[in-house]
């Protein structure tokens, strides 16, 4: 049984026609179900619990990347399958693009096909992330268990931790940063940040470091914020780990893994 959770922005008049098209298509395919709407008075945890109490085995999020990211903590530890119907611009729906889910009406057909994959999730201090985590810091130390530690030699560094492949502006994956959510590994990329004025005179680009990781601890002199999937914030010190095959997701044939 399917339970549909609509994000608050989907209720706007702008998306009225899109909503009608989606609901008609779902009925035609025989996969319509109950609908829960996210409002000021409700949150994802309550809606997911509500859906599961009504016997739903598949929770479908109707929204964008931010919708998925905010709902993840409520879904990850439940025995449900996640589906997505992306609404809005392509730039706001990169997760759906990577999972091979086209926007609006065609996403209903993907749901009906039910190709299910168990994908890895990243976790930082009990907060899950699906796509990536990002922080900028000075004097950073990364410890990989008791085996080795990584120290940045330059002062200002950006660290990105990827679970899904990184997309370029043309919506295709960047080759060197090819990450898949099925391998039980996260990719940590450390990029030193240069003064843009100095960079004008130097032809060489800052060189990145790339480490495949399963579990690391990030320490810093000061408390630093880590941004998860572009919307949630967690502070250092942080334990970053991969949780292999944590979440069942309905994916499309055009997925990038």
């Amino acid at each position: 049984m399917y339970y549909y959770i609509y994000d608050s922005f989907v209720g706007k008049k702008k998306y009225e026609r899109t909503r009608a098209q989606i609901e008609t298509r779902l009925t035609d395919l025989g996969i319509s179900g109950r609908i829960g709407r996210l409002t000021i008075l409700t949150n994802f945890k309550e809606l997911v619990k509500n859906g599961m109490n009504k016997g739903a085995k598949t929770i479908v999020l109707v929204g964008n990347d931010e919708t998925v990211s905010r709902a993840l903590n409520s879904l990850a530890d439940q025995k449900v399958t996640l589906g997505i119907i992306p609404i809005g611009d392509l730039s706001d729906n990169k997760i759906a693009r990577i999972l091979g889910i086209p926007p609006t009406k065609p996403a209903c057909d993907i749901l009906a096909n039910r190709i299910i994959k168990k994908i890895d999730l990243g976790r930082i201090n009990r907060n899950y992330f699906l796509c990536s985590a990002q922080l900028t810091a000075n004097n950073l130390t990364i410890e990989c268990g008791k085996k080795f530690s990584i120290n940045a030699l330059k002062s200002n560094n950006q660290i990105n931790i990827y679970n899904l492949p990184l997309l370029a502006e043309n919506q295709l994956p960047i080759k060197n940063l090819a990450s898949t959510p099925l391998d039980g590994i996260l990719e940590a990329v450390i990029t030193p940040r240069f003064n843009p004025i100095v960079r004008l005179f130097k032809k060489t680009r800052p060189q990145q470091s790339l480490f495949p990781i399963k579990k690391i601890t990030i320490h810093n002199d000061k408390k630093t914020s880590i941004l998860l999937d572009g919307c949630k914030i967690v502070d250092t010190p942080a334990i970053v780990e991969v949780v292999p095959q944590k979440l069942k997701v309905i994916v499309g044939k055009e997925r990038m893994f």
Partner: protein, 148 residues
């Protein structure tokens, strides 16, 4: 108007890149190819290929299947198959490998071993056999008698 969604599958080889802005300390063990452009102290081990850039500095013992070294290594190097030292390579330690390529200008300061055992010369073989015969005369007589 009609945009075909390209099916792009991301195929992956595990690769570690230790960039020039990073220092690794401890026992580093990589599962795939490793590229070192920065600083490594401790030990460095991989089952696959190792590439050491010309500005890299490694103060560690190194193990790899194949290696291409252009930078500085202070430690012993054990390579399963091919070791390639380019013109800017500086090795201060012993090396052990099956196949060795040394470009003009490379510096190697240490022992170099390419086989597990040094093969015997014919004279040494003969000497060994004579010593055996002296120790066990019955064996030498048995060898001389024709087989029935």
């Amino acid at each position: 108007m009609f945009q075909k969604q390209e099916h792009v599958e991301v195929k992956k080889e595990i690769e570690t890149v230790i960039g020039p802005s990073v220092r690794v300390e401890g026992n580093f063990r990589g599962d795939g190819n490793v590229i070192v452009e920065g600083v490594v102290n401790g030990s460095l081990k991989t089952n696959q290929n190792l590439k050491v850039g010309k500005d890299a500095r490694i103060s560690a013992n190194v193990w790899a299947a194949n290696a291409n070294i252009s930078g500085e290594v202070r430690g012993n190097i054990k390579i399963k198959d091919n070791l390639d030292l380019t013109s800017t390579a500086r090795i201060y330690g012993d090396i052990e490998t099956k196949i060795l390529i040394v470009a003009p200008g490379a510096i190697l300061h240490g022992k170099c071993a390419m086989v597990k055992e040094v093969p015997e010369t014919p004279e040494e073989k003969e000497k060994k056999e004579k010593t055996k015969q002296k120790k066990d005369p019955k064996e030498s007589v048995k060898k001389m008698l024709p087989k029935i």
